[in-house]
């Protein structure tokens, strides 16, 4: 059962396409990390750069997984635009919430200026710097050109959804602005931190087919997301770690996921809505595939049951040609029992040896 590699060696080997001793475990555990570090709420975790980095580093050491810190700015990519955000200082909250998006009307959107990252993202810059100084090779949220970075961060989801039908030009404008902003953040970080010390990642929940059609995604999002991903890769970043959150099956069928550059390889992270076997079959030859044990099970089931779910996930993904990592579907629930998160590591050691 003794590991032959350290967590960081395993994480870097996975990304570099080098052999690993066993399946890397990257459960996406940010809120959980705050919780096991003794924070009663997630407020400080999201508000304070040093807390976000420290919590993720320590819980990785404690539980034994291989996940680097994945970093989200305190303003949640919303305050930067002028939207109001409530940080999760209430126990019932698990992440920041956009309480009042800055754009209410077409005029608001037209007049909305693209923020200067150096004025609005200093705390995020500090957070990334802390993680890089500690050689943690973090995942850094670079979020734009997709609906998930626009609604509700700039405009409410309902308003954006209605504009999709009544005034798609406004949707395009919002997506273009978010793309431009995020590219400028990536350029700044690449200039200050280089391109071999961090990995960009983006989540796409509001772009899923439970909300919008594959046609809408193809027409509006694909060109802009493609542009953001390609520009960032052109800066010299090696890959994208992209979470195709929720149900993207229709986007897969329409060939949209293939059109988005993820790097060679990139990391494709689907939620439990897409079976790992299918991910491997469709994308395994080109990209690293993540597992996706479903989050409510990790929160509500027993250690033995979670271990079994991890085993089944590993069996489906282990031999994916470009690599596989055991992951929790849309991230570990913040209040999951720590022993159930340890089950991921245990499963890797028991069933995931190469």
């Amino acid at each position: 059962m003794k590991d032959e590699m350290t967590s960081m060696e395993r994480w870097k080997a996975l990304l570099n396409g080098d052999p690993v001793d066993r399946i890397p475990v990257v459960p996406f555990a940010s809120g959980f990390d705050a919780s096991v570090n003794g924070y009663e709420t997630m407020g400080d975790f999201f508000a304070k750069p040093e807390v976000q980095v420290k919590c993720q580093k320590r819980s990785r050491e404690m539980i034994g997984y291989d996940e680097p810190p994945h970093l989200m700015p305190p303003g949640y990519w919303a305050e930067q635009w002028g939207s109001e955000v409530e940080l999760p200082y209430r126990k019932a909250m698990s992440s920041p919430s956009v309480t009042d998006p800055v754009v209410k009307t077409a005029e608001d959107l037209e007049e909305l200026e693209i923020p200067d990252p150096k004025e609005t993202m200093q705390d995020f810059h500090k957070m990334v710097e802390l993680a890089i100084e500690d050689d943690l090779y973090p995942l850094v949220t670079i979020w734009g050109g997709c609906i998930s970075a626009v609604a509700p961060h700039m405009v409410s989801i309902e308003q954006f959804m209605k504009w999709l039908r009544t005034d798609p030009g406004l949707c395009e404008m919002a997506l273009d602005k978010s793309a431009e902003f995020t590219i400028s953040v990536a350029e700044w970080f690449a200039e200050d931190f280089g391109t071999d010390t961090w990995i960009p990642w983006d989540p796409l929940p509001t772009d899923a087919n439970v909300l919008i059609s594959a046609d809408n995604f193809g027409e509006l999002v694909v060109p802009r997301l493609k542009k953001v991903h390609q520009k960032v890769l052109d800066l010299g970043l090696p890959m994208w770690f992209t979470h195709w959150c929720s149900d993207h099956n229709k986007n897969i069928e329409a060939g949209h996921v293939d059109k988005i550059p993820h790097g060679d390889p990139g990391v494709i992270y689907f939620g439990p809505e897409v079976d790992v076997e299918r991910s491997v079959e469709l994308f395994g030859d080109e990209h690293i595939i993540t597992g996706n044990v479903d989050p409510p099970s990790v929160q509500n089931k027993s250690y033995e049951e979670v271990l079994q779910l991890c085993k089944e996930n590993i069996e489906k993904g282990k031999d994916s040609p470009r690599g596989y990592t055991l992951t929790c579907g849309c991230g570990v629930p913040p209040r999951a029992p720590p022993i159930n998160v340890y089950a991921f590591v245990k499963a890797s050691r028991k069933y995931g040896k190469y």
């Binding site: 019932a92 909250m93 698990s94 309480t99 209605k162 409510p296």
Partner: protein, 218 residues
């Protein structure tokens, strides 16, 4: 004549054309058409069509939202002229997204489908504290309480709400149904809910079933 108008109202809701809906609703009143029939046989039928299309993956949230907007436009015109006794309202439903969760788009879609189905819907909104649910149950006396959550953190608020109702002696008064992305039928059963639905159109069926059950028990 009425049938043509009902058909046009149905089409206007399906098309999400709120101006046309308002115009047709006003026309219905001018022509002396029963406003309740215009609402149920015209507008609600349009919402039923959209609900089925959504359930079958042929319509998406933007379509439902626009149809709901059109429905409410007609309701604004017609409702003040409807005699409450004529409505035969099938039940009263209290809806809300549980504390800590601001994801209310699913709940809003559900509300429009419930409104169209003729339920008397009270919407407490999002990020609703357990005490607010309890207070509203005492005040409004709904037949059904519908709880929604999208986050694994906020879903843990559901059993607390049910426990509170139990402690306050209100549990027997109301059927509780739950839904939202992380919720499953097993979870609903585990926390002592009476019903579960994976999406808004299915929720309507669950609510109808629970109402029948409640009436039987009465």
């Amino acid at each position: 004549m009425s049938d043509d108008l009902f058909g046009e109202l149905t089409d206007a809701v399906v098309a999400g054309d709120k101006d046309r809906c308002r115009g047709l609703a006003e026309q219905a009143l001018d022509e002396g058409v029963d406003p309740y029939r215009a609402l149920m046989e015209g507008c609600a039928e349009g919402m039923n069509i959209m609900s089925d299309r959504y359930d079958e993956g042929e319509a998406y949230v933007p379509d439902i939202l626009l149809s709901a907007e059109a429905l409410y436009e007609a309701m604004d015109v017609l409702k003040p002229h409807i005699d409450v006794e004529d409505t035969g309202v099938s039940g009263k439903v209290l809806l809300g997204v549980v504390e800590g969760d601001i994801h209310d788009i699913g709940k809003n879609v559900l509300k429009s489908i419930f409104d169209a189905a003729g339920f008397d819907v009270i919407d407490l909104g999002r990020d609703v504290r357990p005490e607010q649910f309890q207070e509203s149950i005492e005040k409004e006396k709904p037949d059904i309480l519908g709880l929604s959550a999208l986050m694994t953190t906020s879903m843990t608020g559901m059993p607390k709400i049910i426990e509170n109702l139990q402690k306050a002696g209100l549990r027997e008064r109301v059927k509780v149904m739950v839904g939202g992305a992380p919720i499953s039928e097993d979870y609903a059963e585990k926390i002592g809910a009476d019903g579960y639905a994976p999406n808004a159109p299915q929720a309507k069926k669950t609510a109808e079933k629970l109402l029948k059950q409640k009436k039987k028990e009465a």
